[in-house]
Symmetry: C2
Subunit: 111 residues, 2 copies
């Protein structure tokens, strides 16, 4: 999975911390993290010159932790922010990473 980033190292490090994943390539041209080395899929952060537009990303990631509320709080403490993308009242929480990429934290029950 590939993510365009203004600052691939900063954003990649942020996601490594957020997910508890390992940096397997610290090259700013192709900064990559994996859950553990050689375990695909990884997430690669590529440098681009433009910031994310305000429109919602067409692709995003969902996470389903055991403890939704705890994880949301942890991610917000790390620098994620709650965002409004027209989701209304739902069981999941929509967050954005430091470059504005939306992702969702589901409740454990959601399926």
């Amino acid at each position: 999975m590939v993510v365009d980033a203004v600052d691939p190292v900063a954003l990649g490090q942020w996601w490594a911390t957020a997910l508890g994943w390992t940096v397997v390539n610290d090259d700013p041209g192709a900064f990559e993290i994996q859950r553990e080395p050689e375990r695909l899929p990884g997430i690669i952060f590529l440098p681009v010159g433009t910031a994310k537009p305000s429109s919602k990303n067409r692709l995003h990631l969902d996470f389903r932790p055991d403890e939704q509320e705890f994880e949301v709080e942890r991610l917000v403490d790390l620098g994620a922010r709650r965002v409004e993308v027209g989701q209304g009242v739902v069981s999941w929480v929509v967050l954005a990473d430091p470059e504005g990429n939306e992702f969702c934290v589901l409740s454990a029950a959601a399926r």
Copy 2:
């Protein structure tokens, strides 16, 4: 991984065929495919009212098959099209799925 789609069933079926993955939820509101049932990550296709804008997706998928040329031909035969996103002369091939979502087919050597 979640993909916004104008026609989630058609797009999800397309990707299931393209990847050889299994449909684990055929609900048009949350059409999901997985490599095999219960094996995460899956790809969920959600209905949205708007088509993909012409700008390149901020997030995309890369695939690294053993036989790049064979896979590109197979995917184009399935309905993928080659797209130009300013990649220049590179070792990978940029394709777009039927709704225009870009993805890359890497050469086996690329790392």
